[in-house]
Symmetry: C2
Subunit: 457 residues, 2 copies
């Protein structure tokens, strides 16, 4: 028999991993809730027409399709069948597909339930998504997304709140030195307009977004290749020497964009957000204008966010988001502006692990193991265990009456800090022998003393 | 454009539903953890060979298969293709399938990770499963299962603990009057042996299991139809008049099964469990021997559990489980005895709803909404909100400066109990006007007073 395995790109999570992941989720959920976001959940699979065509051609390919049940081939047109063309046959043998992200299902949810929802609607959603991507380090075929969005209002206070929310979550996680980078789609459009490259907005921003990776000359070369002229590049020059704090950058942008109405609107929005965030203050993160930030430009219409881990860890973005003006238009509901952010769970996990930031107590481990000396002794132990559990103290009985060494070994391996021994002598004295597994120290205690001792641990 | 919808048998969960479901999950998780169970998670899809053939022919049909990515038809043998046979082609175009339950993935997990696991291994797992069942009232194609198992020990103390665990969970949920029914596979085998129907064990127990539904005569008719003779039915008669408490039933069983070694072993096990549970005591549930209980007999080898909701609600079982001797044999790891139970989330939800047992405070709702009177006032409000959130008080700003009636209406619809108004006058006085949305009462308060007031709510 082959050793059992799991599909590539998927993962089993051990107790320790689940506990650590839940530690992150719990802090995020608690903070979402504190900020007035409410949880929703949507089905793991959607009708194919809900998902297909929403993520581009590449996205369509990466969506996991579910085979129809029963005699699915009986519904396939003979002509289509004879062609043996995988693309053509897919829609005839598959009507459902696994969720690819949380945004499209959320849009579908808002449209479907629009009459039950009170707008502005602040929702969060933490669920797995599936992508038939080539698995590689840190990229999985099943992973959790963790999104918060507000739809039904244009207020920029929401952008301010999202910056505060990022700061609150990372502060609670003990992750100091996070940078929240912010840009605005209108500024990117304004720059393209100013340099006379409106028609090449996408090429322009895709190239600009790579400044970090390929440097100024690389960006310029790519822009030239895309047909952006020397004149335009000349006008762009100030962007490459952007320096100073957010105010300095805003001043430079104002100068650069004075002839673009759209660009100036972007600067105004950015100013509102950075000014108010500064006045309200952040705990441990910093907010930094980054005019090269583009992220899924086609989607965003206002603010664009991206969160970088502290400089000492080499990790890409650990969060991102932005404002979009037409989330639900694809499902027939117009004029529903929204803004949202997401947290990159897997990367946050790796960062906390690398920086040793998971609290030692995060694993809700059993505090005490009662050693099993036989039926009568086990019943005596179980009475104590039952009473301990009633007041919320985790305790376990080793289930079998085996050699003490084996039972002690079990406590060791599971990192249970205290073992409790109760044999004939202890039962007579209505007491317990409490053993500290680390120090080896032993003491005789009454149940009251045992309870008080474990309660404090 | 068509109104968007979701696949039949699936559900969207609104904020209220998610919150109530999490209320149940949290109590179950907390109790699992208190009893020393640790969480694991497995991937949503497994390799098809892990799942197929494990749930019988019907099960195989109900497993959702995932279509291979890319040009999946290119790998299909031409001869197979030309037959246009859905069954034959399935394994050539699909290599993965959605989890059908949590038991088989758990068995796979134990075998795959046997060298990392400390046995006895107490794990719990709460994840969705998918079945291509015909959807009907209360039966879904996607639903959560919620299982706890111990593997690697034969100790009957674990059965005792599972009874306590059921009792603890339902007591915490405020659901009084739950009945935990218990039987033992060895007793069923013993009875079949005693009446000379060992070879008809399955038919015999399937019929007996229907006593509740079709009555004594119905059961007898079905047994006769399956070839169980009058002689055997005569010997069976005492079973139909089983009365009294658990001790009375055990005495009757001892009498009935005295010639069956296996049957007497079952009685002994049952006695151990019921005696010790009685000595240790239950909070609100009761434990009741039910010799007709069979549940997936092929699977269980010792104790069999089933939990019934209180008599006043008309709901089937809300939990069940039992002991099995060979969970992991299918994956090549022999002699791994285990015992497990599960909670039926959807039914527990319906029961709590019907009996009005969800606490009113279960929804983590925003306590206070600050009314938006414009940019300056909003900033004043946001300063207060920022400080409230820092100490864990949920508060929100209405994002837009619209008519007060609309803002108040929003607070009403979202059941936010307090609104806070701060205009020019309040800003001057460094104060806030606090309005109780229920009584209409208003009062002028300082930030300190506001904070103290909301903290107590």
């Amino acid at each position: 028999m082959l050793k059992p395995s799991i599909p590539k790109g998927t993962r089993d999570f051990s107790p320790e991993e689940v506990t650590r992941r839940n530690y992150i989720f719990d802090i995020i959920k608690e903070t979402f809730s504190l900020y007035g976001f409410q949880p929703i959940e949507t089905p793991s699979f959607e009708n194919s027409e809900t998902l297909m065509g929403k993520y581009g051609e590449e996205g369509d390919r990466l969506i996991f399709k579910i085979l129809n049940s029963g005699d699915f081939l009986s519904k396939v047109d003979d002509k289509v069948f004879s062609e043996k063309d995988s693309n053509k046959i897919t829609s005839q043998i598959s009507e459902k597909a696994l969720r690819y992200d949380l945004t499209v299902p959320f849009a579908r949810y808002v449209v479907q339930h629009q009459n039950e929802i009170t707008f502005p609607f602040k929702r969060y959603q933490i669920q797995p998504v599936w992508r038939a991507d080539r698995p590689q380090k840190g990229r999985f075929r099943e992973f959790f997304q963790c999104d918060a969005d507000v739809v039904g209002s244009n207020s920029l206070w929401q952008e301010v709140e999202f910056v505060q929310l990022y700061d609150a979550v990372f502060s609670k996680l003990g992750l100091k030195g996070v940078t929240i980078k912010i840009n605005n789609r209108k500024i990117l459009s304004g720059i393209a307009e100013t340099i006379g490259a409106e028609d090449k907005l996408i090429d322009f921003t895709v190239a600009l977004d790579k400044l970090d990776k390929i440097g100024e000359e690389g960006v310029k070369t790519e822009m030239r290749n895309k047909g952006i002229g020397e004149d335009a590049l000349q006008k762009l020059q100030p962007l490459f020497s952007f320096k100073g704090n957010n105010n300095d950058k805003l001043n430079s942008l104002r100068e650069m964009l004075q002839t673009s109405g759209l660009g100036m609107k972007g600067v105004e929005e950015l100013t509102f957000i950075t000014d108010n965030v500064e006045t309200l203050g952040l705990q441990t993160a910093s907010l930094e204008i980054d005019v090269t930030l583009a992220r899924g430009l086609n989607y965003y219409t206002g603010a664009i966010f991206e969160v970088s881990a502290p400089a000492e860890v080499n990790m890409g973005s650990i969060g991102g988001g932005g404002r979009y003006d037409d989330l639900t238009g694809i499902f027939g509901l117009k004029d529903m502006s929204g803004v949202g952010i997401s947290f990159g769970l897997d990367r946050i996990y790796l960062v906390l692990e690398e920086l040793n930031l998971f609290p030692a107590t995060v694993a809700k481990n059993t505090k005490s193991l009662f050693i099993n000396f036989g039926e009568k002794e086990a019943l005596y132990a179980m009475k104590a265990i039952t009473n301990l559990r009633k007041i919320g103290i985790t305790a376990e009985l080793y289930p079998d009456n085996v050699k003490m060494g084996k039972q002690m070994g079990y406590a060791d391996k599971r990192d249970i800090p205290f073992t409790i021994l109760a044999g004939e002598k202890e039962i007579q004295a209505e007491s317990f022998t409490l053993k500290n597994m680390k120090s080896g120290e032993q003491s005789q205690v009454s149940f009251k003393e045992l309870e008080a001792f474990l309660k404090d641990r």
